[in-house]
Amino acid sequence: MARAHRVAGVAALFITLYTLVFLQTLQVPFIERNTVDEVLPVIPWWLLVLFGSYSLWSLGWGLFTFRDCPEAYHELLSEISEAKNDLRGKGVSVD
């Protein structure tokens, strides 16, 4: 079973529960019906906004903390010239 099937299964379960509560087939225990009716319609939008802001923060933070490594570049350049000198001495053709 692929990941897509598992994700679809979990999503189907939640959508069914949501629809049943929405159509008043299922009752939410311990919460007044009025409150449920007010909160329920905004939950999908709340999830969408939540996911959107998570994505933006995650991307932005990732971009901000993406490190540059100029020291690795300079170290590599000096190693390359060292390698070339050594290899020339051993008879390997390098430019």
């Binding site: 990941r3 490190r67 390359i80 390997v92």
Partner: protein
């Protein structure tokens, strides 16, 4: 597997280097590999899988074999450009080590990180250790790991890379932070197993290997690496690559 070194490491590490027109780079990457392996007293070999490069890569590989020994630099050419995945399968046929290291021959992957890969593998008996550009510490923790990073990328390139990575993380939850990187240490039997079930080509191939590894229950560790983008020649990243990447992520989502 013990070689000529008085070392307590009884393993042998085989590096598979797929090459195409790497005449300038091959001697230097092998010099760096040889230096690192000798300093760390490790038993090693390099399998050069050359796809009939017209620039004389194979001649230079033969010269290197005469310098370092033909049992150390093993040239196993192929008749044409046949792709990355099959290059590893081809190289695996000739590996005499019990661990395999795969990396690029263009200096974007530096051999200096291999000893850290090996230490992490030993400390936790891991099946795979992969290099990551996105982390600053290794996973599981290793005291001497230094923060990863890239050189030669502008903000746009970094944004695309982060976006692509975020997409894969969200959709696939692969458990590793760098899916498209190709600097990895594999237990030889694990690489043989994963590669036989992997179907993608190109750089979706590297991603599929990691996703399959997780699905098959293999243990994977991560070491932060510095990534110096191609010193010579252009590294391309256009709209086509982005689209084929997204398609690849989707295929793995529905297929694995």
């Amino acid at each position: 597997m013990q070689g000529q070194f008085a070392s307590n490491d009884t393993h042998k590490y085989s590096v598979i280097l797929p090459t195409y027109n790497e005449r300038k780079n091959l001697p230097i990457i092998i010099w760096l590999l040889a230096k690192m392996f000798e300093e760390n007293k490790l038993e090693w070999e390099v399998i050069v899988v050359d796809d009939a490069s017209p620039d004389g890569t194979q001649e230079v590989a033969k010269q290197l074999a005469s310098v370092y020994g033909e049992y150390k630099i093993v040239l196993k050419p192929r008749s044409g450009k046949l792709g990355l995945g099959t290059a590893y399968i081809h190289g695996l046929n000739f590996c005499s080590g019990d661990f395999v290291i795969i990396m690029d021959a263009d200096f974007s992957h530096h051999p200096k990180f291999i000893p850290q890969f090996i230490r992490l593998q030993k400390a936790h008996n891991l099946d795979i250790v992969t290099g990551t550009r996105y982390r600053s510490t290794s996973k599981p923790y290793l005291t001497d790991a230094t923060p990863g990073g890239v050189h030669g990328w502008d903000l746009k390139r970094k944004l695309i890379s982060r976006g692509a990575n975020f997409l894969a993380m969200t959709v696939l939850n692969p458990g590793v932070s760098d899916l498209t990187g190709s600097f990895r240490l594999y237990r030889v039997s694990v690489l043989r197993h994963i590669i036989t079930v992997t179907q993608s080509k190109g750089y979706v191939f590297q991603m599929e290997m990691m996703v399959r590894a997780k699905a098959l229950g293999y243990t994977v560790g991560e070491v932060p690496i510095t990534f110096v983008d191609r010193l010579f020649g252009e590294s391309k990243l256009g709209a086509d690559e982005v689209v084929s990447y997204a398609k690849g992520v989707w295929q793995l989502f529905t297929g694995v």
